[in-house]
């Protein structure tokens, strides 16, 4: 149903030249759901919606807006719409050049990203999600989903509970052993729609801030540094962890920071078009 509506609506957007391109999801030949860019009406029948539409498509917005003059249509889940709010607040995108096709979402299934989910279980972030509709959209698609899973704050698993109570030394040991697996492929950074500095601090050629080796010391500065840069900005889409070939528990790291931001600064990233309170604003001449 939703698939059909997305296809029809995308087709009309392209026909009426409202947008130059629609970013959405398709199912590839191996039955894997993946992003697709549709700029021809004839290709709109490739667009789909299913519970494997995990990718946060907003990661492509900046490049696509640079490459085109016109407007971009984008299929947006409720959680992903928070990213658009953060990107908007940070002046990284021009909201007026977007045409947001909001999808009513019943949650995305857990599973190895790369292949389709077969566990039948909702992702952890979905169990704790309090949105069924995007926060901002130009057109809404969806019936009226009866939410089976109400926001559930008890979703923290055994590991999260252990981390909450663990001593600083134990926590450090846990995180270092996670970061030790890192091969510095930077997939976490590349999959993150909010991690888009033109030159990444951790990959500067002068290596001032951190070395390029996949050693405990350098991996630690990369991951902790990246986490700090996302504090108050990360909306918890979980793409970093989904992309990680080494299955490093980055989602948990971001959850911990989001909780701190809420407790200390009463800030939840992306619920409004508002900068994180820990962002420093440099005024004129500063």
């Amino acid at each position: 149903m939703i698939t059909k509506k997305i296809q029809e609506y995308a087709s009309s957007l392209l026909a009426d030249q409202v947008v130059d391109c629609v970013i959405g999801y398709e199912v590839g030949p191996r039955r894997t759901t993946r992003p697709i860019f549709v700029d021809q009406q004839a290709d709109t029948d490739r667009l789909v919606w299913n519970q494997n539409c995990s990718h946060n498509l907003t990661v492509y917005l900046r490049q696509k807006l640079n490459d085109t003059e016109g407007r971009i249509g984008i299929v947006v889940k409720p959680c992903d719409s928070k990213t658009i709010n953060v990107l908007g607040a940070e002046n990284r995108i021009d909201r007026d050049r977007l045409h947001i096709i909001g999808i009513e979402c019943e949650g995305i299934l857990e599973g190895n990203v790369k292949q389709n989910a077969d566990s039948g279980e909702l992702q952890r972030r979905c169990l704790a999600c309090d949105l069924t509709e995007p926060l901002d959209m130009d057109y809404m698609i969806g019936g009226s989903i009866e939410r089976k899973n109400l926001p559930d704050n008890s979703t923290s698993n055994k590991l999260s509970r252990w981390l909450e109570k663990a001593t600083a030394d134990d926590r450090l040991e846990y995180w270092l052993s996670e970061f030790d697996r890192c091969i510095r492929c930077y997939a976490c950074r590349q999959a993150c729609p909010l991690c888009d500095c033109p030159t990444c601090l951790f990959e500067r050629e002068d290596s001032i801030w951190t070395g390029s080796s996949a050693t405990t010391k350098d991996n630690r500065s990369f991951h902790l540094g990246r986490a700090f840069h996302l504090a108050g900005r990360c909306i918890g889409c979980g793409e970093c962890q989904r992309a990680c070939p080494m299955d490093i528990n980055l989602g948990e790291l971001n959850r911990v920071l989001a909780r701190e931001m809420e407790e200390q600064f009463h800030h939840r990233a992306g619920y409004t078009v508002e900068l994180s309170p820990i962002t420093t604003i440099l005024g004129e001449g500063r």
Binding site: P29, R30, K114, C185, G211, S212, P245
Partner: protein, 333 residues
Amino acid sequence: MDFISKKSLESWLASVAETKKLYAPVYTDGVLLYQQPNEIEDIVWDFSRPVQSAKEIIFPQSEKMLTIEKNGQNIQIIENLNNDISVIFGVRSCDARGCLVLDKLLVEAEPVDHYYKTRRENTALVGLACEEMGDTCFCTSVGGGPDNSEGLDVMLHRHQDGYLVEIVSSAGEELFNGIEFDRQDIAFNERRFEPEFVLPSQDLLKSSFDSEIWRSESERCLSCRICAYVCPTCRCFDVRDEPGASNNGTEIVERIRGWDSCSGEAYRRIAGGHNPREAKADRLRNRIYCKLHYTQEQSGMMACTGCGRCIDSCPVNIDITEIIGLILEGEPG
């Protein structure tokens, strides 16, 4: 072939670990990698393939090439050559083939990569033949096979409650020297595997250079480096001099080489900030051409071993077999 029970193999592995560095497939937090097992029992015997190929032992993600110590006017340069004697157990045929490609490019061609060569010569590869092809495997289409022993020192083929031992090289013979086999002279029936698909000819690849495929297939690419880093033949690297911890007035600089990948944005950036391969389409084409065409032309070997890791690990499902299919579709009449 001679037959050895799994139990005898385990005691053989324990004896190997006493004198050499033994690497084998081991799970760490649910991720299967070639690692030094704490216990022989930790070794995983039934698996499709580890996330990383055996390459990461011989050509590690990062290695210290030199240490430069500066004390006033006195400068010392110390080479860090790794002389460990190692055995990698549980190597798949596709990974052994990957080592052959690396040998062609890093040892058999000038200039010889001294660091790779030393590690490679000091590392024996003990294979475990695959009993079936995985979902994304296509070794048979690029000249390999699940039980092909090329490039290995020893290949073990599953047989009843143990393995048939195929000694491939003199290094392999040495490893099993003096081992009492449980049974001898058991007939080995080589299994026949058919290719999954036919590869495009070198001419067709050449003429596909300006194809629309590169733009359409690269559009969803995130420009991360997973495909290259899990690939058993990707060998690009970057060398940097990085400050080490100073010690009693001695300044230390380390020369580090680490993997790099042509799928990253900065890879082809040159002096003045120009980037001849700025578009994702050009970067994807370069990677696929490197696998199927450039290396073939340079060394006569296909640089894709059909392991399928890049397909499994890509977060946005960029699939080399799908691209091959699209190239073939574009073949004129």
